[in-house]
Structures are given as C-alpha cells and as structure tokens.
C-alpha cells in the first residue's frame, strides 16, 4: 500500500515532518491562509510535539508576510484555541497539531473567525489560492507584528464550561479521578481543571508537556492500559484519557473498564438533555444508542456525513444542543462552543454522576445495548462502485442512505460503507441489537467485499 506521508488537501496540510512536511510548505500554506482570511488577527497555537515550535515559526512567517497580526497562544488544546478565536475578534486561527497521529507527524488545523473548522467551501477556496501561489506579500509599511497571550485562553475556555454544570455539586463529591494526558497540549490545563476547578482528588500520569507521547496518541482501549490500571490502583470513580490536542476523550469506569466511545457520546447527550432542551446531530456511523437516548427526551437526531466539520455545520444550521462522532470519542456541546471538547465532556459526566449519585458503570450499563463491528477493506481504484452495488443487491429490502458512502438501514441494524478520504480503503461499520446478527452481518459484508 502507498504510505501517505504527506497530504495537502481540503483538510489542510498533514505529514511526516522533515522529508515531507517542511517549513517551506508550512510557511507557504500559512501565507495562502493569511491571504484568504485577510489582514486581521490570526491566532496561532500548537500541541506539545517537538516539531511544533519549528512549524509555528514557519507559520508565523507566512502569516506576517501576508499582512496578518499574529497572536501566539503557545501550547493550547484545539477547543481552547477555537473558543479564544471566537471571543477575541480574530479573523481566523491555525492550530499546529496532528491530533491523534503519531509524534513524527504534524499538521495545520485551520479555523475561521468564528473559531470553527473551515467548512467544505472555505477549504476548497483556500486550496485553490494555495495552488495558484500568487498570494499577498505586504511591504514593511503594511506589516503587523505579533502579540503573545498564553495565560488567558485556558481561563476563557473553562469559564464557558462551568456555566453549564453545577461546580459546587461536583466539588462536594470530591471525585477520585485518574487522568492520562498523553503529555499533550492539555496536560497542565487538565490538572488545573480537574483538581482546582472541579475539586477532584486527581491521580494523573503523562501530564508533562515537555515530554513526547508515552503511548499511541489515539485514546482507545489498546493504548490506555496504564489508565485502567491507575483507576484500579487508586480506586478511582472515573478515568479520563486524552489525545494530544485535547479534543477527544476516552473514559474508563470505576472497575477499570473502558466505556465504548459511542456509549460515551450517548451518556454525554443524556447529561446535556437532562439539563437543557435541544436537538442532536451525529454522523452516519454513530450508534443508534444516541437515537434511543434522544427519544427519551423527545428530541430529534440529525445524521450527517463523517467529519467534525460536517457535524458542526449541521448543528449550527439546526441550532442543535449537542452532537458528536461516536467512533472518535468527540463530544460537541454548543453551550461551550461548536467543537469537540474533552473538557466539556468531562464536566458533563462528572456533573451527572454528582447529580444522580451514581457510578459510570451504572449509567453506562443502563444504556440500550447495541453490538458494533468495524473493519476495513482495501480496494482497487475504479472498483468502488461495483462493491457498493454488490452490497445493495445483497440487501434488497434495505433503506438506502447516500449522504456519505452507502448506509444500508436494515430492520435489525445497519451497515455503513465509506471510502477513506486519504487512502484506497473502504471502512465498514455494522451495528445490530443482536450480537449474533451483528457478527453475521459483519462477516457476510467482509466476505463479499473481499471477494
């Protein structure tokens, strides 16, 4: 298989630093970005990757050459940056983070003046401008400088969150909490937030932002063994695992077992809807457990194509209260900001545990039970249509949805097929209420697609 060590595309620039992602490319892209958003303030932050400062200087160079004023916020989580952008009248922002990708990668995350990810149209326009290459070059007279604000972004972020939970009630419980910060951008903020703001007894590991990632950065059961052990060791009420830029969250219950990401989203939705009315938006691959939870409160669930920007676009359009993407552990709560935010997710969960005097395993166990299977199949270019057609034929009674790939809604569950944006890979997700049926649907599909 081709290795994708550099990707310049609609989601920005991402690549292995050095041979592939160079300072030249980062500066050029930033200059195109600056030309696109115009001559205003652009917020620039990064996660804790060793290559972050190097890329940051290149980006600052490109932005200044395009006539932007650069506001450097240093090491910040992605949601913190997004909120800061939206509150400070900036024309946009660039976050230097490859999110859950390994340490050798880095990338530019691009935000508009509302602190939201560029939507599809903005991304396409920017990319055209980048390829065209003749972006603005300002003179010494027109050049703006940069300012530094590393201290207030966290505060602004947390100020937004605490409006939506009962902080005193959480503090009163004095939760015993375990945390694996992956030495990421949120390391120091997480310790402060959980310990000082929410009054938890904190047992934290990997919260040193000067060190590299101690584990695979994507927060999932396979990478969070230490967190699970930590919960058991200290008898914690809950364990939190973050990714390097603090947008995703994984949760471990009081027995040291990971909560499934779709269930985590459902729990957050339940917590939010219990406090305030509102609709829900999730992507097509998210579990139906979300629909059942929303139905309990009589709220509607909107389904969107996969991708945070797609969910956010829909949430904005329908003024949804909460949303997210099940499989990736991202909770988007509009009360804080239209972005995936591990801190809001933590606060909503702790608030609910405090309100109901219950435990994680109990509320997770009370959710309707669905069985999910996921896999991927490599396909040859040009064969994708045939594969989709074969699946349709195999399920003649299915109700079809084509917003993003092909989703086959069956009576006893669903199958979602989606080609990756970056690789010739077809992602297959299957869900059913019945475990045997889920296994069967998944095996059947994989056999058919591989044949």
């Amino acid at each position: 298989m081709r290795e994708h060590k550099l990707k310049v595309g609609v989601s920005g620039v991402r690549g292995v630093v050095g041979e592939f992602l160079t300072p030249l490319l980062a500066a050029d892209f930033a200059q195109a970005f600056g030309a696109y958003v115009g001559r205003g303030r652009v917020v620039l932050g990064r996660d804790t990757r060793f290559t972050g400062p190097m890329i940051e200087h290149a980006v600052a160079c490109g932005l200044m050459a395009a006539g932007c004023e650069v506001v450097r916020v240093g090491v910040q989580t992605t949601p913190t940056m997004q909120i800061y952008i939206s509150e400070t009248g900036a024309v946009g922002g660039i976050g230097i983070t490859a999110s859950h990708n390994p340490a050798e990668y880095n990338a530019l995350k691009l935000f508009n003046g509302e602190g939201l990810f560029f939507n599809h149209y903005e991304r396409t326009e920017l990319l055209d401008l980048f390829h065209q290459g003749d972006f603005a070059e300002v003179t010494n007279e027109e050049m703006l400088g940069f300012t530094v604000d590393e201290a207030t972004p966290w505060k602004r972020h947390v100020n937004r969150i605490v409006k939506h939970v009962d902080v005193e009630r959480i503090r009163a419980r004095r939760f015993r909490v375990a945390l694996d910060g992956v030495n990421g951008a949120g390391s120091e903020m997480s310790v402060w937030f959980l310990k000082d703001v929410l009054g938890c007894e904190l047992h934290a590991i990997h919260v040193d932002p000067t060190k590299t990632f101690p584990r695979e950065p994507e927060p999932k059961p396979e990478s969070l063994g230490e967190l699970m052990a930590l919960v058991k060791l200290h008898g914690c009420d809950i364990g939190f695992g973050q990714d390097p830029d603090g947008d995703r969250l994984a949760v471990c219950d009081e027995h040291g077992a990971m909560v499934d990401n779709d269930d985590l989203l459902a729990l957050a939705i339940e917590a939010a809807l219990a406090r305030a009315p509102g609709d829900v938006a999730v992507n097509l691959t998210t579990s139906n457990v979300v629909d059942e939870v929303a139905a309990k409160f009589g709220r509607r669930v909107y389904r969107t194509a996969v991708g945070e920007a797609n969910v956010v676009d829909r949430m904005k359009a329908v003024k949804a209260l909460i949303g997210g993407e099940g499989s990736s552990g991202g909770v988007i709560f509009s009360g804080t900001h239209l972005c995936r935010d591990s801190y809001t997710a933590m606060a909503l969960l702790l608030d609910r545990l405090a309100a109901e005097a219950t435990s994680v395993s109990k509320i997770a166990g009370a959710l309707p039970r669905f069985y999910r299977r996921a896999g991927k199949v490599q396909f040859a270019h040009g064969k994708l249509g045939g594969l989709m057609l074969a699946m349709e034929k195999n399920h003649p009674t299915a109700q079809l949805e084509r917003t993003d790939g092909l989703k086959l809604n069956l009576e006893e569950g669903w199958i979602h097929l989606r080609a990756s944006n970056t690789e010739p890979i077809l992602r297959v997700a299957v869900e059913s209420r019945n475990e045997a049926r889920a296994d069967q649907l998944f095996a059947e599909s994989m056999d058919l697609l591989r044949a």
Binding site: L24, T51, M54, C61, E137, N140, E141, M143, L144
Partner: protein
Amino acid sequence: MASSLRISTVGVRGIVGPGLKAHHALEFAAAFSVLLDRSGPVLIARDPRASSVMLREGIVSSLLASGRDVIDLGLASTPVLQHAIQRMNAAGGISIGASHNNAEWNALKFLGPNGTYLSSGEASELLDIYHLRKFDFKDWTQVGRLHFDDASIEAYINDLERVFEVRDLVGLKIVADCSSGLSSLILKRLKDRHPLDITMINATLEAKAFAHTPNTNARTVGLQLAPVVQAIGGDLGVLFDMDSDRIAVCCGDGEVVSEEMILPILAEYQLKRQPGRMIITNLSTTSLVEDVAARYNASVLRVPVGRQHAMDALAMYPAEKIAIAGEGTGAVMLPEFRFVYDGIASLLALASHLKREKTSLKRLIAGMPRYDMRKVEVKLGAKRIPEMMTHLEDHWSGCRMNTQDGLRVDIEDGWFHVRVSNTEPVVRVIAEMRRGSVEDLMAKLMDTVRSYA
C-alpha cells in the same frame, strides 16, 4: 519592481514584498545550514524593521528544521552578532537588516564561524545549494531548539573595553545620530559605564518611520546631523547607519567631513603605532590613502569593490601585517577588533586618535589635503555595458589601467573608476583630482557613459 531583489555573494537584499519574500528567508536559512559543515548553534540578530521579525520567523523555522539550535540575540547589530559568534563558538550566524537602506528594504547577511563574512567561494557555494534546493531537513527527533540571549551587547562592550581606551571619549562633547537604529543600544550602555558626554538624537528604534535615510554619507550628515551639532555645539558629530557598522562625521561647528576621510584618518592612527603595515581598500577609494601610506612606509592593496573582496584579501595575509581595511563609505575594519566593519570601534579609534594628537577633528581635517572627488550614478541596461567599457579602455589606452572591477584608470594628478554596482542595477562613476577641479574629467566620462544609456 521585482528587480529590487538582489541575490549575490554579498547576501540577499530587496524591497520586502515585491522583491524580498518570506520564502527567501526560509530557503536561504536552510541552504546556509547545509553550507556550515560544522555542528553547533546558529546565532541570529535583527534590526528594528517590522519585516525583520517576519524574516526572523522564517529563518528560525528553517534552522530548527535543519537540526540547528538557534540563539536569538534579538535587536543587535551585525558587529555585536559577529562578536557573539566568536564568543560562543557558534557554527555561524545570520544578520537580518538592511543597514543603510530605507525602511522598505531588508537583507540577510551570512556569517561563518568566528563571525567572519563568507568568502567568495563560500558565498557562491551557498547560492548553489539555494538554487539546487539541496536542503537537509531532519526528522522530529532531531529538530533544533530556540534559545534567547540578551547579554550579547554587554559582552561586546566588555571586549571593546579590552581593545580600546574608552576613556579617551571622556571629555569629548559628541552628538550621535543613531538613524533610528541599533547604535543607540550600544551607546546607552557605554554611557551607563563611563561619564561620556554623548547627546543622542534619533535614538528611538523605529520599525517603519525612520528619522531619515540611515546612510552614512556627507549628504545625510549635512542635511540631518550637522545642523543639530551646529546648534548644540561640541567637538564632534557622528552618524551611524542603522546597523552601526560604519560612521560618517562632522566637526563641532557643523562642517561636514567627507565619508572618504574616515579611512585615511584611521589608517594614520593605526600606522603611527604600527608603521609599515598594509592598507587594504578598494579601487573606488580616495588616493589620500596612498598619501598616508607613503608617510609610514606602508603599502596599499587595492581590491574590487565589495566586502567579500576585502575579506578574500585579508585571508591572504597574516593579521599582524595589516594596519586597516576599509572603504570610502566610512566602513573600516581594524585587526585588533576582529576584522569586521564596526562603527562603534571606528568612533573609539577616532577619539583615541584625536586625544593622542591633542587635536580636534576640525584641525585634523584642515591639515589634510583637499582632493576634488565626484561620484555619479547612471542607470544603464546590462547589454551595452561591455561596449561602453571597451570604448573607455580604447580612449584611455595610454594610461595605467586596472580592469579587476570595471575600469580604473590612473592619470596624472588623478584617477577614475567606472564600475557596475553589486547591489543595484546602476553604473557608478567615481573620479578624483589631486590638483584642480574634477569637473572636466567627469564631464568627459559622463559624455561617454551617457551615450550608452
């Protein structure tokens, strides 16, 4: 406008925006790291131009990506940077600033180990690496780190005090025009340490609105500094360029001293103590240099115009054989102070000279012969330049000629030099007569030159 960019062995220079762009900073820094074939940090310093911050960001990024640790001295002049490179045993340095040019310009100067300017060979290798884009970006485990150092000016002054008698400045009433540039940072500290009577004007660092063109020539001195000196009175007026690597002066009564006089005056100061040593200067500099040399049994080596030619010549002789190297622009290098152009060192040497001679600048100048010198610039298309040079050579074929850099001709009681600028698309005509007016000679030359314009 694109022709404002000049990439040459001198470095990179241009008007920021239309000429000099962000990618030049990134690509040249990456090429420079490859050129430096030794490990160690790279030092950087900048002048106060707004665009210097932008260029610094690009340079820092490329150096870090190339696996270099970077030490940023912040706002500091090229001589201070050169001093720090030597003191910290760094691999090299990049100075960001356009020295005597107006605010819209900027430039990168590359400095090798020991803080020396690149030789012609090194500079042309740098261009090759740049053009071939043979960069060496490292993986994530090897990226460099950025450090800051704000003690470099103090360390530089400590060193100055070891070489010069700073106390020789005491008692001199000096007006210093800092041209909104970096010399003010050094003069302020010198004043903190010694009871100096220095009145500083245009001493605020400016990013965009310079007090005046930061050029060290008699014209700028006459327009900007001399009236102030005349008004407040004193012994000496001194004007620094933005980078403080050279000076121009006027007398206490406001009489402007030609920038051509700096080298002969300081050559005398050096040769008096060290007779017989050599003076290195370029083909365009006043023949007062030869007069001084003759008095102290010294020789003059004339090289093509441009810093790198002086450096190449310096490299060929042991330091103890050389009295001074410099140009008619007021830029001089003293062997005691590391062979770098340094305006502060020039000022200290001048003060010491006046003290030792128990004289004033006014009297010193009055005692020197007045030669009539003119400099004219003509915009000329590159295509017809060889034809013009041939024409001139044919016309003056009976005289002593030097064709290392355009054409220099020595005639009875005078000389002239016609050459193409290294930094701008112009032809420069310089002529000097030791007796009488240079006007007739100049008119004759200009007739020929203009006929090719």
